[in-house]
Amino acid sequence: KIFKKILLTMMMIQKTFVGSIIRNFNKPQKNLLLATMMQSSSTFPVANSIESKLKNQLDPIHLEVLNESHMHNVPKNSETHFKVIVVSDVFNTVKMPLQRHRKVNEILKDELDGPVHALSIIAKSPSQWKTMQDKGIEIAKSPNCKGGDGSLPPR
């Protein structure tokens, strides 16, 4: 009980301390803070969109959205090539890999119709994922780029 009280008090102090610092920012400092906060979500809008759609529709127990565009023949900071690792109870009933992939493709239809050129999908049920972890099975790395035809980014 005392521990909880101390912890809560520490959190309160921290909150007001940081709060008081920000309150004392002048306008340019506040603008910079705001810009930084906005940039981290707007710099990679496709990744954010993929993450939120998969979270909302599959309620995964584990999710990784990996931008692999840097491995390919595309400009810096592109969002054209992704790998997603999704572990969800939905895959207890959707068992076949093809069906799992179709489900993910459907959820990310707009991204795939749009900027996303390649999507590697690892889709597992929680028990399959646990087995992989217990056995130390690692996710295979995506293949190296062969250069393509230089036509990316598309659309």
Binding site: H72, P97, L98, H101, R102, N105, K109, L112, D113, H117, A118, L119, S120, I121, I122, A140, S142, P143, N144, C145, K146, G147, G148, D149
Partner: protein
């Protein structure tokens, strides 16, 4: 060899299965590139078809190759695939 790493891996898997296969470089045929996506309702390339049936893309093919499923599926069938 294909100009795409994902397609190249699928080609390697098929070669190691020791089967004859036909392929289309969709970079040379934009209509096929788009048409095959509509046909299979699958948004990306490579796409493997066995006897006209869409099997999957790179992730699925490589996983089937590792588990031996691909070998089983190929053992009696004629194979066609579209790659880039």
């Amino acid at each position: 060899m294909p100009q795409c790493g994902f397609s190249a891996r699928v080609v390697q898997a098929l070669q190691s299965e020791g089967v004859d296969f036909a392929s289309v470089n969709v970079l040379d045929y934009p209509q096929i590139r788009e048409g095959v996506k509509k046909f299979s309702q699958w948004p990306t390339i490579p796409q493997l078809y066995i006897n006209g049936e869409f099997i999957g893309g790179c992730d699925i093919i490589l996983s089937m190759h590792e588990s031996g499923e691909l070998g089983n599926a190929l053992s009696e069938e004629k194979v066609e695939d579209g790659t880039q």
